[in-house]
């Protein structure tokens, strides 16, 4: 794919911005052209957050796009504003608990238990490893290679659990 437009949506506290930065860093180090934009609410925690990435072989004219080719939705609170912004024939990846529907037609829909498998639905944890697991899942589908993500995730705070979440997503 010469250019991938990806939107990851969830709520503040899930690590949506972190996952965007992780993927952007991994792809930039692969020599890809990358643009990342994230948006969050004034409350920061608990309200809808998006990371949007363009990953390309050529210089990127605009980091901003309406319709993603791939949209990941990891919380019900982000569902309504994100679900309509996927291009026809695109892929919608949903956490099991967010899969309220109805979904737009002409989309491929994949539903996986990212939050349940990473946080076990622990009280106080909105699924803070779910976005990283979703990246592992997208790597399995072939949108980008897993190895650069592993390298990017292997340092910094929480490296071990991030690596585990990547592997878990890759197997879902």
């Amino acid at each position: 794919m010469a250019e991938l437009r990806l939107r990851i949506s969830g709520i503040g506290g899930q690590g949506i911005v972190f996952a965007g930065r992780l993927l952007a860093q991994a792809m930039a180090e692969e020599g890809k052209e990358v643009a990342l934009r994230y948006a969050y609410g004034a409350e920061v925690m608990g309200t809808p957050v998006h990371s949007e990435l363009v990953i390309a072989d050529e210089p990127i004219l605009s980091p901003y796009f309406r319709e993603a080719q791939v949209a990941v939705i990891l919380h019900t609170r982000a569902f309504s504003e994100a679900v309509g912004l996927v291009e026809k024939g695109g892929l919608l990846v949903l956490d099991s608990a967010s899969a309220g529907g109805p979904f737009p037609e002409n989309l491929r829909v994949e539903v996986r238990p990212f939050v349940e498998k990473t946080s076990g639905n622990r009280p106080g944890d909105p699924g803070r490893l779910a976005p990283v697991a979703a990246l592992g899942f997208l790597a399995k589908l072939g949108f980008f290679p897993l190895e650069p993500l592993r390298r990017a995730a292997s340092s910094g705070r929480g490296a071990q659990e991030n690596l585990q979440a990547l592997e878990l997503g890759f197997r879902l």
């Binding site: 930065r21 934009r37 948006a39 004219l61 605009s62 901003y64 309406r66």
Partner: protein, 374 residues
């Protein structure tokens, strides 16, 4: 040689400031500019600079003025509500010819508005937010690379022309990460020092700013926001003194305006429909042009200097196209400029979007261009 860095717009602004030699930062944190302050708080003391968190934005801008007179290269960053509070200090900086840089990362207003959501509603405030006749140069990046380069340019312009300078960014750009090519070194302009009893507030050539003495070096120095003569003595009734000073301050910027102009004109020669834009919106304009390749030929003028305004590229675009679209994350501010400059040579159509920080998408801009092209 250049280094590749993956930075957000805010980090690139801070790194541009450090590269240009900014050695004093005072500010008050405010979304969506806070990462600039956080980065300066981390990096500036390591490089021998001074970082201060002020009690509010009024204190911050006046700390910058004091620091500048003590020979620092000062900068602050804020957003709409804080920018409003800084206007008084900016006026004083114009009148006292104090080099400093204010970065305004625009968010949705008025009031506290939507703190974390993008907007472009501060353009007219950046130009006209103070009372009295004056011109403060305003630059606007449209990429993370621009954030680095235009911050360097802003700092150097402040020093070269002995003036405050405003860098107008927006939330979208502030929180966009892109690869930046960072040169190993950048030009650093240093303000001129007085020689042989040169007056600190007078210049025989209005294009050349007077030299700036440094406090503590023995100069008997009066620095006042009131009308003053070449030696800084207050002249609060003399009409000639006021005219001479304020006209010189105006001409100092106006007569040097060609040096300040930064813009890109893309595909203007063969354009059927034109777009004039700045900031993050300009990126969508360039992408819309590509989406329409083979359908409609679109010419895009990306303005990176917003005041004084580079008018010639807008006139050239107007001479070729059947209409000009002006997309803005406001209810229409730049569109007034374009209407004035185009002066009826082609229709000028506003394209406004506000609220929620939602970008003007390339797709919707392309759809509108198709309608206009008929």
């Amino acid at each position: 040689m250049s280094l590749r860095r993956f930075w957000s717009g805010n980090i690139a602004v801070a790194e541009g400031a450090l590269a240009a030699g900014v050695d004093f930062y005072a500010g008050y944190p405010i979304t969506p500019s806070s990462e600039i302050m956080e980065h300066m708080a981390r990096e500036l003391p390591k490089r021998g600079g001074i970082f201060l968190q002020a009690e509010d934005e009024i204190a911050a801008i006046f700390l910058l003025i004091g620091a500048s007179w003590a020979d620092a290269k000062p900068m602050t960053a804020t957003s709409g509500p804080g920018f409003s509070l800084m206007q008084e200090g900016l006026g004083i900086a114009v009148m006292t010819e104090t080099p400093l840089v204010v970065v305004d990362v625009m968010r949705a207003g008025p009031g506290t508005g939507q703190a974390s959501k993008a907007a472009q509603g501060d353009l007219l405030q950046a130009r006209f937010g103070r009372h009295g006749d004056q011109i403060i140069p305003v630059f606007a990046p449209s990429s993370v690379q621009d954030c680095f380069e235009l911050t360097v340019f802003a700092v150097n312009t402040a020093e070269r022309l002995r003036t405050p300078v405003i860098l107008l960014s927006d939330e979208l750009l502030a929180h966009t990460w892109e690869t930046v090519r960072v040169p190993e070194g950048v030009e650093r302009v240093e303000r001129r020092r007085p020689k042989d009893h040169e007056p600190p507030f007078g210049s025989p050539d209005p294009r050349v700013p007077p030299p700036m003495p440094r406090l503590g070096e023995g100069h008997a120095l009066l620095v006042t926001g009131s009308t003053h003569d070449a030696w800084g003595l207050r002249q609060t009734s003399d009409p000639h003194a006021h005219r001479e000073l304020v006209e010189r301050l105006w001409e100092k910027i106006w007569l040097n305006r060609e040096e300040l102009f930064r813009y890109e004109a893309v595909g203007v020669e063969e354009a059927e429909v034109g777009i004039v834009a700045y900031g993050s919106v300009a990126r969508s304009a360039l992408a819309a042009r590509k989406l329409l390749a083979g359908k409609v030929s679109v010419g895009v003028v990306v303005l990176k200097t917003l005041w004084p305004l580079p008018e010639e590229p807008i006139r050239e675009l107007a001479a070729r196209v059947k209409a000009i679209l002006v997309p803005e994350l406001s209810l229409g501010q730049l569109v007034w400029d374009v209407e004035r400059v185009v002066a009826g040579r082609s229709p000028v159509l506003r394209f406004s979007k506000i609220g929620g920080g939602i970008p003007i998408y390339p797709e919707e801009l392309a759809e509108r261009v198709l309608e206009v092209a008929g």
